[in-house]
Amino acid sequence: MAGGEGVRKLIRGRGIVVPGDDIDTDRIIPARYLRLITFEELGKYAFFDERFDDNGKPKKHPLNDSRFAGGTILLVNRNFGCGSSREHAPQSLMRMGIRAFVGESFAEIFSGNCTALGLPASRVSHEDALKLQALVDADPGLELSIDLESLTVTAGGQRVTFTMPDSDRKSLVSGTWDTTAMLLSNREAIRAAASRIPYLNGFAAARGAGRG
């Protein structure tokens, strides 16, 4: 990915409050929608079973709430995205318009998937998560601003700090979160590693036995 278009320094947008701890990726995207060989259609199915009843009628859910329509920042709580590694979960949210997450904590694989898609997952304290959720709930028109350089979220005159793994922050800020090309540029070092790993070389005593 070219540097410019991938840079994620400042994310601005309105919020959507999706409260609750331990929201797993089966809830974010039910398994039956994983039977598609592309991600393209998934935006329609995010949180499907929580948003629609058995007859397809909308249920009460933040993503059906017209007050939050057009929001791009999901405000969540603890351990969001736990469970299955399915990248379909952040893909479905991204394809319905989500551009960033602010929450108390994120499951590790989910968080890695978000970074790999250029979606910042910002960690705030329990108190700050509740404060931001309350602000947005009271005024869904409020614009939030996530600044990855100062590690702050600003909303309605309130400013809170957040954390994220520094490697994620650097990748997002520099626009290098799509890692394939960068990894491949170390092709020589990859070959060298392969040539010293014993089980790839007949378990030969491998110290320094690089063959290139």
Binding site: D22, D26, D54, Y199
Partner: protein, 474 residues
């Protein structure tokens, strides 16, 4: 200060330090299945890239395969399309594909079974239960599809080194208490998010005494505790298990392999981020009652009262009661079940089926209970056939199926309906997980699920088993 297995494996596989500060890590074994890989192969094609080490990737199908006959084309058009995609991708890139062979099975069952999984390896797969493979002393973890793309193109990943938590289980598990009970108890103690940022190293006398298949069960559910990887240091149990398997070297090469494997185990006095200890003697069979695997209690226990829980957990408990409709304070024993499912990457191995068959033999499934056994692989199925297990299950009223993931996640036709309650040997009790948005899953060991099928309600399997029966440890 000694080094952990994780440190040794990490250092051996490190390719470079990346500008982000992460390490570029060589992935020694890459496993793919049909659901999370087609988009990665497509991305590769879109970028004009090839698979860099096709001989280090192996493919199978498990999630979408029907278990009531795998004849092609599959009745489900989407499943058939998915199957064709992985066949095409494996062929186009020179990747060995087990999906059409007698080796087909759940990716986390066949890896160890074929001897692909070995100590000291880095192993990745687009599936969170890849932690399973840590049972053999590898560092194994689930990845998303973008990372599958990275592995296919580069055989490496950008990763941050996790911290290592030592989980020490002393004593010994009592008869009728299984590895499944042990790992559920650990998750209940440490929480479903307690392991974020950690790899769990399981050890201690009770863990050392576990046979390999029980260790696989234990490491499988590390991710349910938030730990992306879990492992057990390789020992004689590991080497005995591997000897003679197809992808394991034989003869003198096996001895060389064992030397390497031994060298990768954690040093005595290795440096751990922290340690959690548990008395193995204190365990009883565990049953989950809520909507995450940490919401679980001993079989003699009662469902928790929200008001008595830690404040931070109360919302999650309320949400669980909203969904399950169970009653605070009610005993877990006697809770009626509609379905019993025995199988999955957690408990679909031959020792699991033997253990369940011991409970079932000569008895009948309770009227109105739908009970099914789904072997984790065709190899497990063949072994079960040799031992006469299908007859035992069928005579009792169980359905006996072909290999696959089945009702663990209901991507194939095996699903709960309505508000059914399922006694399940699988790994997740998330809302909707088993195919009905209103369904309810009680996680337990295969023996406990079998006993629940017979009784039509949750019971203590130890009271069903014939007296003097040994300590199966699936």
């Amino acid at each position: 200060m000694g080094r952990t297995l994780l440190d040794k494996v990490w250092d051996l596989h490190k390719v470079a330090t990346l500008p982000s500060g992460q390490d570029q890590l060589f992935i020694g074994l890459h496993l793919v299945h049909e659901v999370t890989s087609p988009q990665a192969f497509q991305a590769l094609e879109d970028r004009g890239l090839n698979v860099l080490f096709p001989e280090r990737t192996f493919a199978t199908v498990d999630h979408i395969v029907p278990t009531d006959g795998q004849r092609r084309p599959f009745a489900d058009e989407l499943a058939e399309q998915m199957m064709r995609a992985i066949e095409k991708n494996a062929r186009a890139h020179g990747i060995q594909f087990f999906g059409n062979t007698d080796d087909q099975g759940i990716v986390h069952i066949i890896g160890p079974e074929l001897g692909l999984t070995q100590p000291g390896m880095t192993i990745a797969c687009g599936d969170s239960h890849t932690s399973t493979h840590g049972a053999l002393g590898s560092i194994a973890f689930g990845v998303g599809t973008s990372q599958i793309r990275d592995i296919l193109a580069t055989q490496t990943l950008a990763l941050s080194r996790p911290r290592v938590r030592r989980i020490e289980v002393s004593g010994s598990l009592r008869p009728g208490v299984h590895a499944k009970d042990l790992i559920i108890r650990i998750i209940a103690e440490l929480g479903v998010n307690g392991g974020i940022g950690f790899a769990y190293e399981y050890g201690g006398r009770a863990v050392a005494a576990l046979p390999m298949e029980a260790r696989l069960t234990m490491c499988n559910m590390s991710i349910e505790g938030g730990a992306r990887a879990g492992y057990i240091n390789p020992d004689e149990v590991t080497f005995d298990y591997l000897k003679g398997r197809r992808f394991v070297p034989a003869g003198q090469d096996f001895d060389k392999a064992v030397q390497f494997w031994k060298s990768m185990a954690s040093d005595p006095g290795a440096d751990y981020a922290d340690t959690f200890t548990l008395d193995g003697n204190s365990l009883e069979p565990m049953v989950s009652w809520g909507i995450n695997p940490g919401q679980a209690i001993g079989v003699s226990g009662r469902l928790p009262r929200v008001s008595e829980a830690r404040p931070a957990d109360q919302d999650a408990l309320r949400k669980a009661y909203d969904h399950t409709g169970f009653t605070e304070g009610q005993p877990i024993q006697g809770l009626p079940v509609d379905v019993a499912f025995i199988g999955s990457c957690t408990n679909g191995r031959i020792s699991d089926l033997r253990e369940a068959a011991r409970v079932v033999k000569g008895r009948k499934v309770s009227a109105g209970v739908k009970a099914l056994v789904v072997p984790g692989s065709r190899a497990v199925l063949r072994q079960a056939n040799e031992e006469g297990l299908p007859e035992i299950f069928r005579e009792a009223g169980f359905e006996w199926r072909d290999a696959g993931c089945s009702m663990c996640l209901a991507m194939n036709p095996d699903k709960l309906t309505g508000r059914q309650v399922c006694a399940s040997s699988s790994n997740r009790n998330f809302i909707g997980r088993q195919g009905s948005p209103h369904g309810r899953t009680l996680l337990m060991s295969p023996a406990m699920a079998a006993a629940a099928a017979l009784a039509g309600e949750v019971v203590d399997a130890r009271q069903v088993l014939p007296a003097g029966s040994g300590n199966g440890r699936s």
